[in-house]
Symmetry: C2
Subunit: 488 residues, 2 copies
């Protein structure tokens, strides 16, 4: 790189930093103004407001069903974990100890042993598994928990990184390595389906490098999404734990040959971070853009009138349409009389409601409705009122698909293939993007790249089928490609 190129790169980086700050402000403003969440008086913790919680419930519901449909059962384990439990799996405690919140007093007395507020529940759940598993007949043990967890964070951001967050954590025990590996893969596929079919976020599926692996796991699989600014977001992980926790907690079973064996395990989770992914993955300058399948309000009806006569006429029509749509859709009639239609349009655009129906006196007279699409911001005028239910049905499906297609096209446009580290740095200096490159580097190489560019290996995708090439960083021959990016 010449001096001039380097300067240009620096300028681009400065510009990128400015854009990052702007994007960061946009994100926080959008989350707060759309009333998804608010800051709380407790450092690093947020308040999930009703609109944000409804969005989370709409993500939870299909996921809970998918978890049950794949044979898992929900349960609940204590949120407090004895400090000594955390220390039983060496790598695990090293990974999580710095992030722990510690209860030292209870009922007015100092505790004999401090309690950790769960950062994740492998330790306490596997302690119980050891009591419940004796024979191969007790396996597989397929448990899921919906819970709050706490990881002390220095730099937090609403939904994306908070000290307390809500999640589900699956924990399973199996009689063979193969079965556990299949389970880890199956649940990653559930997460892919949730992200793509409900959140309309295309994701890459693959394996994490050792540096990014969950502490205590043999392997970590992930789904990785691109946000609208080109950065990556880890949206869910599924871990093959091998026998690490089974050995630490003594989960032994008598196999069919009558021999004692340690169980093979998995764990997997997604969190309220997914709400942040939806905001950041679809939002635009007007605010949220919500996929219809998970939007708390799918259709909003805004009456337009100038006087009391018009008001009576228009509201009657609005109520008819509301009553017609209500059984099939999450629909809201905004009949507040202290705001004008323009204010309401902005309000519901900011909240990302997929479809808005505008109904004024002329529309009533002509038996039509005006529809505004949130994703494209197009208006569809003079829709026959008698066909509104069918039109809404088709439009919601079209919007869901369009959001996915748009996000996929965006990811493709912003994925760059590089063959050298100079190209790599130049690409990242220009804009945030996914970088696809042959990779045979070490963990130390990853650390150096991160220090120099803030980017990391996001995933080594499944189903690689490349001819042999040369690692962009080490020059070593390899047929493995990895995806790199700056991540949230």
């Amino acid at each position: 790189m010449t001096v001039k190129e380097s300067e240009a790169g620096m300028n681009a980086q400065e510009e990128e930093k400015g854009k990052d700050a702007e994007r960061s402000k946009w994100y926080t403003d959008t989350v707060r103004q759309s009333e998804l969440a608010d800051y709380s008086p407790v450092k690093g913790c947020m308040v999930i407001r009703p609109y944000g919680y409804a969005l989370w419930e709409n993500i939870q519901r299909p996921l809970d069903q998918m978890i049950k449909d794949t044979g898992h059962q929900n349960a609940y384990f204590p949120m407090f974990i004895p400090e000594s439990f955390m220390q039983k799996e060496k790598e695990h405690v090293e990974g999580f100890a710095p992030e722990c919140a510690v209860v030292t007093h209870g009922g007015g007395k100092k505790l004999e042993e401090p309690l950790i507020v769960r950062p994740t529940s492998e330790t306490i759940i596997n302690h119980m598994f050891a009591k419940w598993v004796q024979s191969w007949r007790d396996l597989p043990l397929l448990i899921n928990q919906w819970a709050n967890v706490v990881r002390w964070e220095m730099r937090t951001r609403l939904f994306l990184r908070t000290t307390e967050f809500l999640w589900q954590e699956g924990h399973t025990a199996h009689a063979s390595e193969q079965e556990a590996e299949e389970e880890a893969a199956k649940m990653l596929e559930v997460y892919r389906e949730l992200a793509e079919d409900y959140l309309a976020l295309p994701v890459l599926t693959g394996v994490k490098t050792d540096n990014e692996r969950f502490r205590g796991a043999v392997r970590t699989y992930c789904i990785e999404a691109m946000m609208r600014d080109g950065k990556a977001l880890q949206a869910g992980t599924s871990h093959y734990l091998g026998q690490n926790f089974a050995k630490a907690f003594g989960i032994e079973f008598q196999n069919k040959n009558g021999e004692l064996e340690h169980a093979y395990q998995t764990s997997w989770g997604v969190s309220t971070r997914l709400v942040g992914a939806v905001v950041m993955g679809h939002g635009d300058e007007k605010g949220l853009v919500l996929p219809p399948k998970i939007a708390p309000v799918q259709v909003v009806i805004v009456p337009i009138y100038k006087n009391d006569d018009e008001k009576a006429l228009v509201l009657e029509r609005c109520r008819q349409v509301y009553a017609e749509l209500k059984p099939s859709y999450r629909v809201h009639l905004d009949d507040r009389d202290n705001f004008n239609p323009g204010y309401k349009f902005n309000h519901w655009e900011q909240k990302g409601v997929p479809v808005r129906l505008n109904i004024g006196p002329k529309d009533v007279a002509n038996n039509v409705i005006e529809i505004a699409r949130r994703d494209t911001r197009e208006k569809i005028r003079d829709v026959n009122r008698d066909e509104i239910s069918k039109v809404v049905f088709n439009l919601l499906a079209a919007i869901q698909q369009n959001l996915f297609d748009r996000a996929l096209a965006f990811r493709q446009e912003n994925t760059v293939t590089v063959t050298s580290y100079d190209e790599y740095k130049a690409a990242l200096a220009e804009k945030h993007c996914f970088i696809e490159a042959y990779w045979a580097g070490s963990g130390d190489d990853e650390v150096k790249i991160k220090e120099e560019t803030r980017s990391t290996v996001r995933t080594v995708p499944f189903n690689q089928n490349h001819p042999e090439g040369k690692c962009f960083y080490t020059g070593k021959p390899t047929s493995t490609k990895a995806i790199f990016a700056v991540a949230y």
Copy 2:
């Protein structure tokens, strides 16, 4: 009371203590053996196992719907509460401080201000309400939260009293006292409906005396159920908070006259204690007896066969019946081949499954099914296989009703009316029961009665319509009757 009577009373009390211990052992054994819950390695905390959690989900689902149908929205607030917040409402902190778990360290450092793990969320939620409420247009604010809470308990019992438990807590703010009072009454009615229509537990509704009031509330309303041993269980509470928290946290709104006013508030909650109420309110010597509406498994099918030919024939029929019932009921086919039918009968009786279908080779040949009812333990033989769906439908409804009727009759049989303290003590010495009596005593009187008999005023029922009488304890004239009992 003569010496002889007193001795008899003492003996009866000793006997009652023995029964209490026996009943306590029955309860714990039943909860553990039916796999509702298990002890955890964390003092006072329990593990809710899949069967228990499914029961809780079946209670949550209708309640969540009722909460939403009455206009409330779910949200989520931080579990950590700054210590200083707890101190803002004087009575509240006095009530809860001794039960608090305290986080003193986070992220490897000592915190500047300790954080309390929420024992209830009035303080943190009302801090946020103060930010959100400015005008009468922002009211009513109707919020519900599903969450875990922690109250340090010395003597714990699975589900009934645990250090950590799951619950929902409603928090509302209103523009007038009347509206808030109506809200508190409305949500108590929701709890009554949940208890009676879903849990099949008849409850008394009424108000708590000042001694039993929620600390920080103006008035506490409750639903109170009788358990199968005659003891009382507080199953849910709804509080009219007046302006206590609004004043402590500065929730002020501009009313329609343009004046600033403090909001009027309520809070209300039910918890996983309801699972304990179901166990203790319906169970018998064989284990759980679950109301069909909330039973995780409503119908279990047990195949009966002696050899492989019979097995093939019987299992085929079982699978047909399973497939027929599956779309409408929570049905399970117990096709395990390592347990005999007798073992399975016991297993599912212990788990309280309302209806069991036994199918053997003769049943297949005769196109019939044998049905066993869990509540009455009756068998209905030779039910036409082609009518099974209709028979199951009617039977589940009959069992739901029978459990309620039985519990109501039991409460009536075990409610004693007394006119003097001697009668009161004699009644309680004989057996646990509800005592109905004219009452005009003071808080100090309540304390004395509790010290002497372990019993307390459970509720002052609504809709009193008695002629004037004399307080059984003070002799003062009154037209108010109260219900007393020993409570869980």
